[in-house]
């Protein structure tokens, strides 16, 4: 299962052709950013406090007690 997912990812990421700078109008749309948006900061914080899982979203991975 895990191997199949890894192969699928490799196929997806390796099968693409290069997109030129002048073709990136859609990719450069502000809503297309791949990182956590600033406005999501506090939603991510409370999720980190109320759930056991954290990380792998480009956001904070530790620090602070989160105990309230």
């Amino acid at each position: 299962m895990k191997t199949s997912i890894a192969i699928l990812f490799l196929m997806i990421f390796s099968s693409c052709s290069t997109v030129k700078e002048y073709q990136k109008m859609n990719i450069n749309d502000p809503d297309m950013v791949l990182s956590v948006q600033k406005i999501e900061k506090y939603e991510t914080t409370f999720q980190t406090y109320r759930e056991a899982a954290a990380g792998a979203n480009g956001g904070k991975t530790g620090g602070g007690c989160g105990c309230n």
């Binding site: 997109v19 859609n26 409370f46 109320r50």
Partner: protein, 461 residues
Amino acid sequence: MREIMKIKFILVFAFLWMLNVKAQEAPNAEYQKKVLESTEVDILMSYYAQDGIHSSVAGGEGTEELTDFTSSIVISMPIKNNDVLTFDIGISAYTSASSSNINPFDRSGASGGGDDDDDDKRAIEKPLDEGGANPWYASSGASMSDVLVHGSVSYSHSSEDRNTIVSGNLGFSTEYDYFSIGIGGGITKLFNEKNTEVSLKGQVYLDEWQSIYPTELDSYLDGGLDNDFFDGVTIIGNPDYEPTNFELNTNEKRNSYSVSASFSQILTKSIQASLFFDVIIQEGLLSTPYHRIYFADKENSFIEQFQLADDNESLPTNRFKLPIGTRFNFYLNENFVLRTYYRYYYDDWGITAHTASVELPIKLGQKFTVTPMYRFYTQTEADYFAPKEVHVSTQKYYTSDYDLSAFDSNQYGIGLKYTDIFTKAKIWKFGLKNVELRYNHYTRSNYLDADIITLGIKFID
């Protein structure tokens, strides 16, 4: 002679070619686009409210009512052409009924300021019809509210060709019983005409508790039932209250180390994806000192309606976390963008979790975007979790914190963003770039509900 003419011709040709190259390079050499064109100021505010029935301060049963108001300001400034300096400063003020019951018998309301007067700790009996201590209601003690202050500074440098970005950051956060320092750095490389991005980051958090314990536990440790705390009060149920498992923490440090790798790829003119991978190691005091535990093999003792703790939470001093996440974003057309996210999480406390979320920004003209969003989360319980009065006193590790129990959660919400690309509205010299308001409702299968409203305002110089 013919050879000399040939050399002259080559030299002239080479000179003209060089001039031509210079002429082509000149504009690039003179105008290097800045990484950040102008100073950006982001103001963020949020209001969070939750309620539930599984207070970990009351051993797994009791009110989890909490409100939190947070605001912060993030200022990003260009330094020359290639560097960006960012400051992030914020303050968060919360009131928590659950935390207030660290000392559920404190009705003085005068214990603020962190003094250690015995008066603050003494159990003050009240008839039940006048609202005696009860895990379902807040006390008025100092721990019912606190303020968290955080700040960080980060610096990033981009190479001339913008294919390498090196960054570093330093930050802190502090509240009454907790202090955290964070330091980190990273490098990002772009390849393949900036279609591929690989990033590696390291982060260390050096945290320290100033332990606060459930009042009856540390009072008992200092003189047993002869301590002033128990003076003149009636212990209902088992009158020989004896929390013998309890001891003070000898190590109050909590360190977190993480290495994060990410890989991003533009797949087509309208699709891009990324893969995130974190390795997180935590060590030190990973339990929360004021979380109560009630054992199945100990007789129950009460003051008023509040059950006295048999011990506080006990958890291992190490934790290894391994989250892996992926995002796929699709530019469907000029009106719709689809943002998707999935994460798998594993840790060595026995928790596995899955997170999936989807957002659909819908552009209504050039200025407004409406974004409906949904997030699903599920986790298994930690090896050390059990509800109230299920653990036994011979166990090494135990917690009744329902954040570590098995549950599913659903979060759904909506966002509204106003963007003015011409930044017509001005405050001092800053123009308003956008305003975004988001509301989310969160509901957990073990009876915790929360709402969060976030407001973000962006100004540019």
